[in-house]
C-alpha cells in the first residue's frame, strides 16, 4: 500500500523514463549524433547516451535526438544541433561533459557553444 507521497515519487522517477516517447512535439529542436563507422569507433554511442540522459533527466521537452549517418567532419564524435528556425550547428570532438554544456547553453539557452564548433 502506497501513500500519496509514494505515488508522487514514482511519478517523478518515471517521468524521465517515458519522456522520450513524447510524440506531440511542436517547433522542436533536433539533435543528430553522427553514428557512421568512424563515429561509432570514436565513441558516438557515449555521446548519444549523454544527450538522451541529459535531456530526459532534466525533463526537457520538444527535443528530438536522432541517430544519424556519418557526417563529413574530421574530429568525431560529432553532432548537429538544430534549433527551430535556426541554421544547423555542428559540434566536433565531443565528450559526455561537453554534451552537458551544449544542452545547458545551446538547447536551453539558445546560444551556440562556439569553442566546440567545427572550425
Amino acid at each position: 500500500m502506497k501513500s500519496i507521497a509514494d505515488i508522487n515519487a514514482i511519478r517523478e522517477e518515471m517521468q524521465s523514463k517515458v519522456l522520450i516517447r513524447d510524440n506531440t512535439k511542436e517547433g522542436e529542436t533536433h539533435v543528430f549524433v553522427a553514428m557512421g563507422t568512424v563515429g561509432l569507433q570514436s565513441g558516438a554511442v557515449e555521446v548519444f547516451n549523454a544527450f538522451v540522459d541529459e535531456i530526459t533527466s532534466r525533463l526537457i521537452k520538444n527535443v528530438r535526438i536522432s541517430r544519424a549517418g556519418s557526417m563529413d567532419v574530421k574530429d568525431q564524435p560529432a553532432a548537429e544541433v538544430v534549433l527551430p528556425g535556426k541554421a544547423p550547428v555542428t559540434y566536433v570532438g565531443l565528450t559526455a561533459d561537453m554534451v552537458k554544456v551544449i544542452v545547458e547553453k545551446h538547447i536551453l539557452g539558445g546560444e551556440p557553444v562556439t569553442e566546440y564548433i567545427v572550425k
Binding site: I7, R21, S66
Partner: protein, 602 residues
C-alpha cells in the same frame, strides 16, 4: 537508464498479425547485440493506424516502422539500434521523406486528431502502472480525494458538458447527480465495456491500451456518488482487454489505489470484472445490469432508471469506457479546458473506428465538430482504388448512413440525429459505389434479428418480418406496396419495442430509404441492383464481339455454365463463348479471369 525505446503495438489488430512474436524477436536480437541495458522494449496498446500494422516505433527518433515482420527485426536492430541508420524501406511512407523523420503528430493521419481519450494508447505499457503514473495517472484521484467535495466533482463534470460516449449522449454530470441524490445506503458504479457494434473497437482499444484510465475514473465516480463497489462489464470475446484490465486492477490494489482506505484518505472502493457472453443486447443498460446480477441478459422497462433502481435494485451510475476515459483529464485540466474543444452542445472529442472502404483503417480521435470530409479524406486517406465515396454508416446497427451530400456536416450528437443517423459508440463504416444500400440495410438488420433477445414482440417478430421484406426486395420479388408496408412496419417497431435495440433496429432501413430510395425502387421496379451486389438480380453476359474465344472463363466456371458458340467475332480467330443463365451461379469467376473485358454483369 534506457536510451532507446522500442514500442511494439499489442493492440488486437497488430497482435493478430504476430506482434507478440515481433516483440519476442526484438528481445532476442537486442540481447544478441548486447544492448539489453540500453534498449527497452515495450508492448503498448493500439497506435490507431491499424491499416499498416504491425507497427513498431523506435524512440528517441520516433521512427515509425509499418507492416513489420519477424524477419525484419534483425535488420532494425543491427541497422537502427546498433549503427543508427533508419531502415527506410520499412518507414511509414509519409514519414520516410527527407533526413529527419517527421514527428508522428505531423503526419496527415495524426495532424487533425486531438488525442484525449487515446492519449496514452500506444505510448505507455498498459501492464505497468508506473508508466501510467508517469503520465499524471491517478493525480486526478488524489486531487479529488484530498481537495474536492463529492458535489464539486459532479459540478466540474457537469460544467465540462461531457455527454455519454456510448451512443445516446446523455450528460454524464446529470447522471451522476441523479445517482448521488437518489435515496439509498448502497450505490454502485458500473462500466459498460460491452462494445457490440459491428466495426467499433474503441472501447476495446482503451481497455487494451490504457486500462488504468478507466479504473481511476470509476474510483472518482464512486467518490462523487458515494459508492464503494464497481463492476466492469466486458465481453469475454475481448481476451486481451480482459487480461490487461485484470492486471491493472491487481496493480491498483497492490498500490492501495483500490480497496480499503485508498491512499490513507479513508475512502473505500473495490472493482470487479464481470464477463459477458457477447450478446449485443447486453450493451443496453438494463439488460447489462440484469446480466451482472447473474440473470439472463434481457432489458426491463424504464423508468425506474438505473440512477434510482439499478444494479441489485440500488442506485447505479453506468457509463461507457470512453466516457470514463475523459474524466481524469477533466478533473486535472478543468471543465473550461474540456469545453474549449468541440461544439456548443457536444464538447470534447470523439473516437471513431474507421472501417470499410477507406485507406487508413484504424482508430481516430477528433474534436467534435470536425466535418465528415476531414475525417474521411484528410485523416482516413479517402476511398481506395479511385472509387467514389457513397455513404458512411455511423452508429452501427442502431444508426444510419450519411450520404455524400452531407459530406461537410460537422460531426456532433445533434447534427447526426438531424440527418437521420446517430453518434452511437463511434463505428464509422465507409461505403463506395460498389456497395448496394439495400444490401447494407439487410446486413445490419440480419445482425439485429440475430441479436434480438426475444422478450418483446415488436422486436422479435417485427424485425424478422422486416428482414423478409428486404429479402423479397433483393431477390426482385417485391412490389411497390411492399415498400410502403415495410416503411410502416419500421415505425411500428420503433414506437413499440421495449429497449433501445428494437427501437433503433429499423434505423438502417429508414435512413437508406431516406437517401437511397431510388435504389430500392430500382430493385423493385426494374429488377436491377444498381451496384451489382444482389446476386438474384444479376446476370453475367459475354459481349461476343470482344471475346477472342480463349476459353479461360470456361475453365474457371465451377458450374459448367459456359460453352462455345459458332460465332467468330470480326478480327478474332476462335469462336466466342456464351453463358447459360440457367446454370450460372453468379460467382463472378469468369469475369475476374477475362483479360479482354468481354464479360459484364448487369
Amino acid at each position: 537508464m534506457y536510451r532507446s525505446h522500442v514500442l511494439v503495438c499489442g493492440g488486437t489488430g497488430c497482435h493478430s498479425n504476430n506482434s507478440a512474436n515481433i516483440l519476442k524477436a526484438f528481445n532476442e536480437e537486442i540481447a544478441k547485440a548486447n544492448l539489453t541495458a540500453d534498449v527497452q522494449t515495450v508492448q503498448t496498446g493500439c497506435f490507431g493506424l491499424c491499416a499498416v500494422g504491425p507497427v513498431v516505433i523506435v524512440y528517441p527518433e520516433g521512427a515509425f516502422y509499418s507492416c513489420v515482420k519477424v524477419e525484419d527485426v534483425p535488420e532494425i536492430v543491427s541497422e537502427h539500434l546498433v549503427k543508427g541508420r533508419l531502415v527506410e524501406r520499412l518507414l511509414y511512407k509519409e514519414k520516410a521523406t527527407g533526413k529527419t523523420v517527421k514527428a508522428l503528430s505531423e503526419t496527415n493521419f495524426y495532424k487533425k486528431q486531438t488525442r484525449v481519450v487515446l492519449r496514452n494508447c500506444g505510448v505507455i505499457n498498459p501492464e505497468n502502472i508506473d508508466e501510467y503514473i508517469a503520465m499524471d495517472g491517478y493525480q486526478a484521484l488524489i486531487k479529488v480525494l484530498t481537495k474536492m467535495q463529492p458535489q464539486e466533482v459532479i459540478d466540474e463534470v457537469l460544467a465540462s458538458g461531457l455527454r455519454g460516449r456510448g451512443g445516446a449522449g446523455f450528460p454524464t454530470g446529470r447522471k451522476w447527480q441523479f445517482t448521488k441524490d437518489a435515496v439509498g445506503d448502497v450505490k454502485y458504479v458500473a462500466c459498460n465495456a460491452d462494445e457490440g457494434d459491428p466495426g467499433a473497437f474503441m472501447d476495446r482499444s482503451v481497455l487494451e491500451g490504457d486500462p488504468h484510465a478507466v479504473i481511476e475514473a470509476m474510483a472518482i465516480a464512486a467518490y462523487a456518488i458515494g459508492a464503494q463497489q464497481g463492476y466492469v462489464y466486458v465481453r469475454a470475446e475481448y481476451p486481451i482487454a480482459v487480461r490487461r484490465l485484470q492486471i491493472a486492477i491487481d496493480q491498483a490494489k497492490e498500490y492501495g489505489l483500490l480497496g480499503k482506505n485508498i491512499l490513507g484518505t479513508g475512502f473505500n472502493f473495490d472493482l470487479e470484472i464481470r464477463l459477458g457472453a457477447g450478446a449485443f443486447v447486453c450493451g443496453e443498460e438494463t439488460a447489462l445490469m440484469t446480466s451482472i446480477e447473474g440473470n439472463r441478459g434481457e432489458p426491463r422497462v424504464r423508468p425506474p432508471f438505473p440512477a434510482h433502481k439499478g444494479l441489485f435494485g440500488k442506485p447505479t451510475v453506468l457509463n461507457n469506457v470512453e466516457t470514463y476515459a475523459n474524466i481524469a483529464q477533466i478533473i486535472l485540466k478543468g471543465a473550461d479546458w474540456f469545453k474549449s474543444m468541440g461544439t456548443e452542445k457536444s464538447r470534447g472529442t470523439k473516437v471513431f473506428a474507421l472501417g470499410g472502404k477507406i485507406v487508413n483503417t484504424g482508430l481516430v480521435e477528433i474534436p467534435m465538430g470536425t466535418t465528415l470530409r476531414e475525417v474521411i479524406e484528410d485523416i482516413g486517406g479517402g476511398v481506395p482504388n479511385g472509387k467514389k465515396f457513397k455513404a458512411a454508416q455511423t452508429g452501427g446497427p442502431s444508426g444510419g448512413c450519411i450520404p455524400a451530400e452531407h459530406f461537410d456536416i460537422p460531426i456532433d450528437y445533434d447534427n447526426l440525429i438531424s440527418i437521420g443517423s446517430m453518434m452511437g459508440s463511434g463505428g464509422m463504416i465507409v461505403m463506395d459505389e460498389d456497395n448496394c444500400m439495400v444490401d447494407i440495410a439487410k446486413f445490419f438488420l440480419t445482425f439485429t434479428v440475430d441479436e434480438s433477445c426475444g422478450k418483446c414482440t415488436p422486436c422479435r417478430i417485427g424485425n424478422k418480418r422486416l428482414l423478409e421484406y428486404l429479402d423479397k426486395i433483393t431477390s426482385g420479388k417485391a412490389t411497390m406496396q411492399d415498400l410502403e408496408d415495410m416503411e410502416k412496419l419500421c415505425y411500428y417497431i420503433k414506437d413499440n419495442s421495449l429497449c433501445g435495440l428494437g427501437q433503433t433496429a429499423p434505423n438502417p432501413v429508414l435512413s437508406t430509404l431516406r437517401y437511397f430510395r431510388d435504389e430500392y425502387i430500382a430493385h423493385i421496379r426494374d429488377k436491377k441492383c444498381p451496384a451489382g451486389v444482389c446476386k438474384s438480380l444479376l446476370q453475367y453476359k459475354i459481349i461476343k464481339d470482344n471475346c477472342i474465344g480463349c476459353g479461360m472463363c470456361q475453365r474457371q466456371c465451377p458450374a459448367n455454365a459456359i460453352s462455345r458458340t459458332d460465332y467468330i467475332a470480326p478480327g478474332k480467330k476462335l469462336a466466342a463463348m456464351e453463358i447459360d443463365p440457367s446454370k450460372c451461379v453468379k460467382c463472378g469467376a469468369c469475369m475476374s479471369t477475362c483479360k479482354f473485358k468481354a464479360i459484364i454483369k448487369e
